[in-house]
C-alpha cells in the first residue's frame, strides 16, 4: 500500500503556513514564536516555559495534529521523526552562560534536541516510535527511508525539519499516513517520496 503526505506546515519568514494556506503572519518582532502562539489562541501556558526549538515544533505540529482525520488515529501508532542542523545549540549556549552564576534547571532540561519531540508527544498524547537526526542540511532521502521503515509497524509518522538560531526560524513538518475511508474525501494526496518532500520544503 502506498503512503501519502496527508498534511504539512511551514514556519518561515515570520509566517505560518498549513497545506499552503497562510494561517498566521507576524510583522517584524523579536518574539515571533510567542506572537504566533497568541494569534493561534492555543491556551497552553506551558508553551512559555519551552525553549525556542520546542516552541517552533509545537506551533508547527498543532495545525497538523488537531485536524479531525488525524486526531482520531490511535496515538500509540503515530511515530515522530525530526531533524535539524544545530541540535539544541541555542539552548545549550544559553544554559552554559547560566553556569557562570546559577545554572538554570529550566534551561538544562531543554539541552537535547529530542525534547521538542517530547513536548509535541505530551501535548498530543503520542506514544509511538521516535527519532531525531542531526544533518548538515534538510535530507529528504533520510526522512523518507526511515519513515517508510516505521510505517511497517506504525499507522502514521509526523516528520520534518526544525531549525532555529538567533537569525533564522525554519520549521517544516509533514504527516505521512495511509489512505483511509475517513480521509480520502478530504485530502489532496501527495505521494510520499523524496522529490515531493523536497518540493514541499523548498516551495
Amino acid at each position: 500500500m502506498s503512503n501519502y503526505i496527508l498534511s504539512y506546515t511551514k514556519i518561515k519568514n515570520n509566517c505560518l503556513w498549513h497545506n499552503d494556506k497562510l494561517v498566521s503572519k507576524i510583522g517584524e518582532t523579536d518574539n515571533f514564536l510567542e506572537e504566533t502562539y497568541k494569534s493561534l489562541d492555543l491556551a497552553y501556558p506551558k508553551f512559555f516555559k519551552m525553549d525556542a526549538l520546542s516552541k517552533l515544533g509545537v506551533l508547527c505540529a498543532e495545525q497538523i495534529l488537531t485536524d479531525e482525520s488525524i486526531r482520531l488515529l490511535p496515538k500509540e501508532k503515530i511515530a515522530v521523526v525530526l531533524s535539524n542542523k544545530n541540535s539544541s545549540l541555542q539552548t545549550d549556549v544559553a544554559y552554559a552562560k547560566t553556569m557562570r552564576d546559577f545554572p538554570s534547571p529550566s534551561l538544562f532540561v531543554y539541552t537535547l534536541p529530542n525534547i521538542v519531540t517530547g513536548e509535541i508527544a505530551i501535548k498530543h498524547k503520542i506514544t509511538g516510535e521516535n527519532a531525531f537526526f542531526i544533518e548538515p542540511t534538510f535530507n529528504a532521502d533520510l526522512l523518507h527511508n526511515y519513515t517508510e521503515l516505521l510505517l511497517q509497524e506504525s499507522e502514521a509518522v509526523l516528520c520534518g525539519w526544525l531549525s532555529i538560531d538567533e537569525k533564522t526560524c525554519d520549521g517544516f513538518l509533514y504527516f505521512v499516513g495511509k489512505q483511509t475511508e475517513s480521509n480520502q474525501k478530504k485530502i489532496n494526496f501527495i505521494k510520499h517520496n523524496p522529490t515531493n518532500i523536497t518540493q514541499l520544503y523548498t516551495n
Binding site: 510567542e34 501556558p45 512559555f48 516555559k49 552564576d101 546559577f102 545554572p103 538554570s104 534547571p105 529550566s106 532540561v109
Partner: protein, 84 residues
C-alpha cells in the same frame, strides 16, 4: 511582609516564565504545586535557585522544602525569618 509577597509574586512570574500570569492572579495562600499555579518539579528547582540568587538562602533540610514552598505566603515567611 506585604511588600515581600508582592515582590515574590513578580519574581516567581519572571523566574518560572509564567507569561500569562499577573501578580494579582496569584493568591498568596493558594498551593503553588498540584493546584493553584500548578507548578512542576523543574519549577521547584527554579524556586530553589530564586531563593539563593535573590535572598542568599539555601534550604538546609530537604524535608522542610514541602512546607516552605506550600504557597507564596509560606515562602515569604521563610525568607522573612531567615534573611540575614
Amino acid at each position: 511582609m506585604e511588600n515581600l509577597i508582592e515582590n515574590l509574586k513578580k519574581q516567581i512570574i519572571e523566574q518560572l516564565n509564567l507569561a500569562e500570569v499577573k501578580p494579582d492572579d496569584i493568591d498568596a495562600s493558594a498551593p503553588l504545586f498540584g493546584e493553584g499555579l500548578g507548578l512542576d518539579s523543574i519549577d521547584a528547582l527554579e524556586l530553589i535557585v530564586l531563593l539563593e540568587k535573590n535572598y542568599g538562602l539555601k534550604i538546609q533540610e530537604p524535608k522542610d522544602a514541602k512546607n516552605i514552598f506550600q504557597s507564596v505566603k509560606t515562602l515569604a515567611e521563610y525568607i522573612s525569618s531567615h534573611k540575614k
